[in-house]
Structure formats: C-alpha cells, structure tokens
C-alpha cells in the first residue's frame, strides 16, 4: 500500500506536531540505543486530510493521535520536494498535540504571552 489518506476531526489547513515518545532501550547491552523521541509533523490540507506512509500512520497510533481516521488508500500519492532553492514559503498555523488537547504555537516573531493577554 503506497500511502494512506488520513483525516483530522477538526483542524483544517494547519500543521500538527505530534510527539512520539521513542523506544529508548536501557538494558545492559543496548543502553540508550533505539528510537529517540521526536515530533511528527502532519500537514493538513483545507479538508483536514494528509497522505502518509503506513510507517508514519503506525507511529501516529503509537503516539496516541486519536483525532485521526483513515479515509482511504492512495495508489499514486503526490510528489514531495525538499528544496535548497531561495524563496519565501508560506507556513500554515502550527499546533502541538498535548495529551488530548491541541495548543497553538505562536508563529515566528509573535510572543505567545502577547497573544494570550490580547484576548
């Protein structure tokens, strides 16, 4: 299965950061070996959908991302680009999942405490 289209219950046109705890092993022979914790970055389109690999979907489940459902398999997923070219790229709103809740992350240049007190 090349890719799976997943859907978020509420968010649209946003990035969600989902913390995976990793699998650090602490036994004698494998001390501090294994997967380190990291944020999974899920970019939702304006319908709340994102296409991910099966491996990423498995990690999201391990991380307890419960607001997602699988819509369908995608046989021909779109091409993605990693670029070193100069230019300005629009960054959608970013949210971090904390437990069952989502907390908005202030965009660059905006202090979070200013946003909280300004209502």
């Amino acid at each position: 299965m090349p890719g799976v289209r997943i859907h978020h219950a509420t968010l649209r046109n946003a990035v969600i950061l989902i913390r995976h705890p990793g699998e650090i092993k602490k036994t004698f022979k494998t001390y501090n070996k294994g997967r380190k914790p990291k944020d999974y970055r899920i970019q939702l389109d304006n319908e709340g959908n994102c296409i991910v690999s099966e491996v990423v979907w498995k990690r999201l489940q391990e991380a307890g991302a419960k607001d997602f459902i699988i819509l369908n398999e995608v046989a021909d997923p779109p091409r993605q680009t990693l670029s070193f070219k100069e230019g300005t790229f629009e960054e959608p709103a970013t949210y971090r999942m904390i437990g069952e809740a989502l907390k908005e992350i202030a965009p660059p240049g905006v202090k979070a405490y200013v946003r909280r007190h300004s209502g």
Binding site: M1, P2, Y40, I51, V52, S53, E54, R59, T81, G87
Partner: protein, 145 residues
C-alpha cells in the same frame, strides 16, 4: 548540526595519512548517491562518521540511484560541486529530517560519506506518503570548497 562536509571526506581529498581504506573521490565520475535519514534512529556525526556502516540501517529511509549530471567547476579559487536534482522513488518509510551524500562502492565499509544536510529552505522534515521525494539543489551548486 548544520549542513556540512564530512571530515573524513576532506581528509581523503587532501591525502591525510590518518585516514586509510578510501581513495580520492572523483565527483564527476564516481557513483555518488543520496540517503534520506530518520534522525530518531541514529545521531550522525560529521567529525567521526566515515563510511556507510557508520549510519544505522534503521535510520536509512530511502536511497537514491546514482546522481546524474555531476559537475565540479573551479572558479575564483573555489571548486563547486553540482548535479541534477535527485528523485527518491516511492518513499514509504518514517518521517525524515536529514540527507547524506556518499560515494557508493557496493561495500558499506568503503562507501565514503561526503556531505550532510539538515537545513533546507523548504520541505524538511518530510513525512513520506508513498510517493516520490525530489531533492532540489540550489542554483549555485550543492557544496563547494
């Protein structure tokens, strides 16, 4: 870390006797490839890692074919390495944060690590979706020295 050349690559290129088992990299004719790296599975070190065996297998999400149209151009006392954009086909692994260029020999212990990238203008970290991932180099080249 930041985008960087591997220390071992620099040592090999200048003929440092402290590093053995590698021949000088001929950028234009050698088989050089890109690997997409999941940084949660290995912590890469450009100062101590030398060859492909130094990168954990679990960290290698995708490997390209041989990079095409490679050029090395000397200008104003600087050699600039460039190549055609690279396509990683049907990537279905874990989220990735880094790219490494290495010289492919078919043997991990002699496949010299060349360059490390973790800072892109867009696209990173990349969440594979089962489709192709294209690495678009800067118009001014991939790296120079």
């Amino acid at each position: 870390m930041a985008n960087s050349l591997y220390a071992g690559y620099k040592q090999v290129q200048v003929g440092d006797a402290a590093i053995t088992g590698f021949s000088v990299v001929n950028w234009e004719s050698d088989d050089c490839r890109c690997i997409l790296i999941d940084s949660a599975d290995d912590t890469l070190n450009v100062n101590t890692d030398q060859d492909l065996a130094d990168i954990a297998g679990a960290a290698r999400v995708a490997v390209s074919g041989a990079m095409a149209s490679k050029t090395a151009v000397l200008s104003s006392n600087t050699v600039t390495m460039d190549a055609a954009d690279v396509t990683l086909s049907a990537v279905s692994g874990d989220q990735s944060e880094q790219v490494v260029i290495y010289r492919h020999t078919g043997t991990e212990a002699t496949s010299l690590l060349i360059a490390f990238f973790d800072t892109f203008t867009s696209g990173m970290p990349v969440t594979p979706n089962g489709g192709d991932i294209v690495i678009q180099w800067n118009a001014s080249g991939i790296f120079n020295w």
